[in-house]
Each structure stands twice: as structure tokens, then as C-alpha cells.
């Protein structure tokens, strides 16, 4: 039964002015008793005057106890103190439909609910109280969580089919002891994937140690990885364990493995093959018990062909391979990722930002994200600095997202967002079709002349020769 209809029946029942504890006989009362939504009414002093069977069931408080008490003492919802819909209805005379929150039932369980409220009036139209219906959303919430779980592994969230394949493979990868190679552009979340593999693996209680091989000069990297003995070099006053020793029993994450020098590649190969290494200045080998996860943004196969990366080391680390797609290829994840970051920054910064407005989200969807997930995270973090409450709007986004291709004609934010999406989809279609206008128009499902008109309107610059003429030249 829709909430508005339900509220009507409540009004009818209240006008009958039956005594609170009288026997239920009228059709309206029978309806209110038989429905699964909780319903209660209050008088002008906020005391409960009726409380149906479902309300008893959901709250865990009997009608006998509820009637005559203050509604917030019985209803006990997260909205009572500051967001009471019934109070708003009583103040404005208007109904409010579908406000979400939770109540705490008599067993201390948080029950997610949605509430709708309306005022009750007497025959002369004077407000004599209010009515509230509430729906138990526990099943809906459980379903939502189950669905969300399908899109989440550890700290990773994604709806993308490309990432779903990765998600499906991760538990098996985590369970095996093999070395893993993670491939992906900057900011695609290689370290997050490595941490997830570690947290799902039998080594989860051991340490996770990360080293960025591209950030340290060769000699320093060597001592960082393998450690050194006292007196190994000037300034080595005492033994220092390396990252291999620190990661013992756990996982060692070698980021930017493609940046490692040839000499160090040899040493790494030996560790992976023989599971032993010598700290600098030591004459004795030390055994290592680490699982290595390597990552790179460079094409290691090509590096190997060029002789820049050792082939034997490449095959040694390329046992299990995880490829992370760039964000531009999984844009369906942007809303999910944005919500994840909003939740995180709300927790960290103690804010209550509700999310991104539809227009702001549209701009995010239109962007190419060369910096991938990290860039998106930075955009959300920046928006948190400027936006204090409510929704993040276009005005809270950085210029590179909002000004590129957007006219200065004082258009609305929504227009700007549409403009950006249009611009982006045209650019992508043209790029993909080698600037062949006819093929791009076909891909977009529009006529060639429409494409030309939009190209002109949006001010997109085209190369002198299009894809069609280039093909002809090749022929």
C-alpha cells in the first residue's frame, strides 16, 4: 500500500475517535492491523494515541506500553533529535514521504527504516496531531549489502566486468605461494591490490612491506632490500635488517620493479630462485621466507625484448599476473569509488557530506582520468576542503575538470555537465575511429551532418586529413 494511501486511512481511523483500547472492529482498523508497515499516531502533545500490530513487531514494544508515552521514547530513531519528519509535518502541515534512518529495537538491534509522516486534522481543519508510518528495510538493506559485497574485495570496489575478473581470481592468487606481477598505469591501485592479496593470504598475520624501487638510487635500494652488517661501509655502525628480513613471514611488495638496475636484477633473481641472500658486508647467506609481489607501469615484455630487463627475472616474477585496467576503461566504477572516498573522508574529517550532485558526477564521468583512481581520490579530497555540507557541486571541482571545453556564456551547471559529456563522447568516438567522421557518426548513432554540426558547436579541432583520407593514402 503506498504511504500516501496509508496516511489517508490513518486519518479516517483517527476521525472515528474510537477509544484507544477498544476492540478492533472497523474496516480501517482491520486494515491498519493487517499491514506490514508500522503505524502510530500522536496527539498535539506528542503522546502516542495508537500503535498498530506491525509497530509492536518492529519496535519490540507493546501497544499497551507505547500508548500514552512520548513518541521519541518509544520510537527511538536516529532522526528523533534533529531530523524528526513528524515535527516538520506538524510545523508545516505538509506530509513527508520516505525519509531514511534507523530505530533501535528492544533487543538493541539497529533496524533500518523509511518513515512517512502527515498531520491529522479535525472536522474544522485544525491540527490535532500527527501520523507516522514506518517500513522495516532490514531485508532490503541485507540485499544491498550482499550486492555491494559482490562488488567489493578487501579495499577494492568495482562493478566493472574487467575488474570482476580480477576479483574472481584474487582468492586463488592469495591462497597460492607464487610470485605475483601486477601491471597497471600510475594510480590504478597496484599497491591496494597487493595489500588485498596479502590480507586474503595465509600470510595475512605477517607483515606487509612495500618498497618503491623507482624512488631510491641503486646502492641505497640494495641496502634497503638486503640490509647490511656493521662495518660494511663507512657509517655502518651497527647491523641493519633489510626489507626482506622485515617482511619475513609476510609479503614484500616491490613497486616499479621495471626501474631496477641490471646488477640488482641479478641479486633479485637469486633471492627468488634460491630463497637466500647476503646482506651487504656479510659472508653468510640468510634464508628468506617472504612472498614477493612485484608491480610495474611499464611494459616489461617490451623492456625484456629491448634487453633492458632480464628475461630470466621476467619469467620468474611473471608467474601469476594481474592486469589492472585504467579508470577510463571502467568508468562505471566512478560513482562507487566516489562514494567510497566520500565515506572515508567523512569519517576522517568528521563531516557529513552526502555525496556528489548529479551534475558534478556527470563531469567526473566525462573526464579521462590520466592519474586514474588516485587522481579521483585527490579530486574528492579537494572537494572536501571547499565543501562543508550537503552535496559536492561543480563549483567544488578543480578547474581542469570544469573549464576544459566549457563555454563562458553563463550557462547553468547542468548545461555545462551535458556539454562536457557531449564533448568527451565526440572526442572518444573520433579518436577511436582515427578521425573518420563517418565511422564516428555511425558509432554515436547520429547522422554525419549532425556530427559536423556538433563538432562545430563544441569547437573541436580536427586534423586536416580524416581517417578516410588516410586509409586512401595507405591504399
Amino acid at each position: 500500500m503506498p504511504n500516501s494511501q496509508l496516511l489517508y486511512w490513518i486519518a479516517v481511523a483517527t476521525k472515528m475517535k474510537k477509544k484507544v483500547h477498544s476492540v478492533i472492529t472497523t474496516p480501517t482498523e482491520i486494515i491498519l492491523e493487517s499491514i506490514s508497515d508500522g503505524v502510530f499516531t500522536i496527539d498535539s502533545q506528542w503522546h502516542i494515541t495508537s500503535f498498530n500490530r506491525a509497530a509492536e513487531e518492529i519496535t519490540g514494544i507493546s501497544r499497551k506500553e507505547a500508548i500514552g508515552r512520548g513518541c521519541c521514547d518509544v520510537f527511538r530513531s536516529s532522526m528523533c533529535e534533529t531530523e524528526c519528519s513528524l515535527k516538520r509535518s506538524m510545523e508545516t502541515g505538509k506530509p513527508y514521504i520516505g525519509k531514511s534512518g534507523y530505530i533501535i529495537d528492544a533487543d538493541g538491534e539497529r533496524i533500518p527504516i523509511s518513515v512517512s509522516t502527515a498531520v491529522l486534522r479535525d472536522a474544522k481543519g485544525r491540527v490535532i496531531g500527527g501520523a507516522e508510518t514506518f517500513r522495516d528495510l532490514s531485508d532490503v538493506e541485507a540485499l544491498r549489502r550482499e550486492l555491494e559485497g559482490r562488488f567489493r574485495v578487501g579495499d577494492l570496489v568495482s562493478r566493472s566486468p574487467l575488474m570482476q575478473k580480477v576479483f574472481e581470481a584474487l582468492p586463488a592468487i592469495a591462497a597460492s605461494p607464487s610470485t605475483v606481477l601486477i601491471l597497471g598505469d600510475t594510480g590504478t591501485g597496484k599497491e591496494v591490490v597487493a595489500k588485498t592479496i596479502h590480507s586474503l593470504s595465509p600470510r595475512q598475520k605477517g607483515p606487509f612491506i612495500a618498497v618503491n624501487c623507482g624512488a631510491l638510487p641503486d646502492t641505497l635500494l640494495e641496502s634497503e632490500l638486503f640490509g647490511y652488517k656493521k662495518g660494511a661501509f663507512t657509517g655502518a655502525h651497527k647491523d641493519k635488517p633489510g626489507r626482506f628480513a622485515m617482511a619475513s613471514g609476510g609479503t614484500l611488495f616491490l613497486d616499479e620493479i621495471g626501474e631496477v638496475s641490471s646488477a640488482l636484477q641479478v641479486r633479485l633473481l637469486r633471492v627468488l630462485q634460491e630463497r637466500t641472500y647476503e646482506p651487504l658486508g656479510s659472508t653468510r647467506s640468510e634464508a628468506t621466507d617472504v612472498r614477493v609481489i612485484a608491480a610495474t607501469k611499464t611494459d616489461l615484455a617490451q623492456q625484456t625484448r629491448k634487453g633492458l630487463f632480464r628475461e630470466d627475472l621476467y619469467y620468474r616474477i611473471n608467474v601469476v599476473r594481474v592486469e589492472l585496467p585504467p579508470l577510463r576503461k571502467r568508468k562505471e566504477d566512478i560513482p562507487l569509488l566516489v562514494q567510497k572516498f566520500v565515506d572515508r573522508f567523512n569519517r576522517l574529517q568528521r563531516k557529513t557530506i552526502q555525496g556528489f550532485s548529479a551534475e558534478a558526477l556527470s563531469l567526473l564521468m566525462a573526464h579521462d582520468w590520466p592519474g586514474n583512481v588516485r587522481e579521483l581520490e585527490n579530486v574528492v579530497e579537494r572537494a572536501f576542503v571547499i565543501c562543508n555540507e550537503g552535496f559536492v557541486e561543480i563549483a567544488h571541482l578543480p578547474e581542469e575538470l570544469t573549464t576544459r571545453g566549457v563555454s563562458k556564456r553563463g550557462s547553468s551547471h547542468l548545461e555545462d555537465a551535458h556539454h562536457m559529456i557531449d564533448l568527451q563522447s565526440l572526442r572518444v568516438a573520433l579518436d577511436r575511429n582515427n578521425f573518420n567522421r563517418e565511422a564516428a557518426a555511425k558509432e554515436l548513432g547520429i547522422h554525419k551532418t549532425t556530427l559536423f554540426r556538433r563538432i562545430k558547436k563544441l569547437g573541436i579541432e580536427l586534423p586536416k586529413r580524416d581517417g578516410r583520407s588516410r586509409r586512401r593514402t595507405k591504399q
Binding site: E56, G60, I61, S62, E65, R69, G70, C72, D73, V74, F75, R76, S77, S78, C80, E81, T82, I103, I104, D105, A106, D107, G108, E109, R110, R347, R350, T352
Partner: protein
């Protein structure tokens, strides 16, 4: 025989001079210092939004022994217990009356709680 209560610090979750309906989202608590069954100090403090642990830690830092509140979720109740704070929950009524009832009758607070249809976790300290 006169009942002698131990010295203690009690926190009452408050809202509009009444016990706040839900402690999980309550914004203010009244901290009452009691010695030999008499109130020797009283002050109201605000509670920031935060995790269960942050909420419990705030009260623990204030030296609170017992919290008197309306509804409290099972998770937050467990956290309060972990921080050594006793909780008297499902209490409703005017703050002054609840305080008087507490001082004379201890944690039972007869007449200020709402009996449940199902078994409630009213007195967690047991």
C-alpha cells in the same frame, strides 16, 4: 538503614531536559559527580559525531563509571562495556526525575524504563 552509594561519575544522555532517545546519535551528556549519595557537581558536555570507540573513549576520559541513556545499539553497548562503563539503558523521562530516582534507587530506575515485548539488554553491567 541508610543506603550509602559509592562515589561515582554518572553520565546522562540528555536532549531537551529529557533522556535522549538514542545514545548512538545523542549530542549532549550531563556529567554528574556523586559523593555519598549527593550530587557535588554537574556539567553538560557535547559529544562529537564519531565511531563507537570515539564515543566510549570520550566518556572514559571523563572518568564516567555509569551511563544512563535511552536506546543504545548492541554494538555501542559492547564498546562501552569494553571501556569499563556500566550502562543503564532503555530509560525515558525528565532528567531531574531520572537523576533523583537513580540516587535513591540505584540502577533499577523503576518506572522510567519501557518494558519490551522481547527480552531487552536493559542492565548491561550484570
Amino acid at each position: 538503614m541508610e543506603l550509602s552509594l559509592p562515589d561515582e561519575i554518572i553520565a546522562f544522555a540528555v536532549w531537551n531536559n529529557r533522556i535522549a532517545p538514542v545514545f548512538d546519535v545523542a549530542h549532549r551528556v550531563c556529567i554528574v559527580n556523586v559523593e555519598s549519595g549527593r550530587v557535588i557537581g554537574e556539567r553538560e558536555i557535547s559529544l562529537e559525531k564519531g565511531t563507537n570507540s570515539q564515543r566510549a573513549l570520550r566518556l572514559a576520559e571523563l572518568g564516567v563509571h555509569t551511563l544512563v541513556c535511552g536506546a543504545i545499539s548492541r554494538q555501542l553497548l559492547a564498546t562501552m562495556k569494553a571501556y569499563g562503563i556500566d550502562v543503564v539503558s532503555s530509560v525515558a523521562g525528565e532528567c531531574d526525575e531520572v537523576l533523583q530516582a537513580y540516587l535513591t534507587g540505584g540502577v533499577e530506575l523503576q518506572g522510567f524504563s519501557i518494558p519490551a515485548l522481547r527480552r531487552s539488554h536493559r542492565k548491561s553491567s550484570e
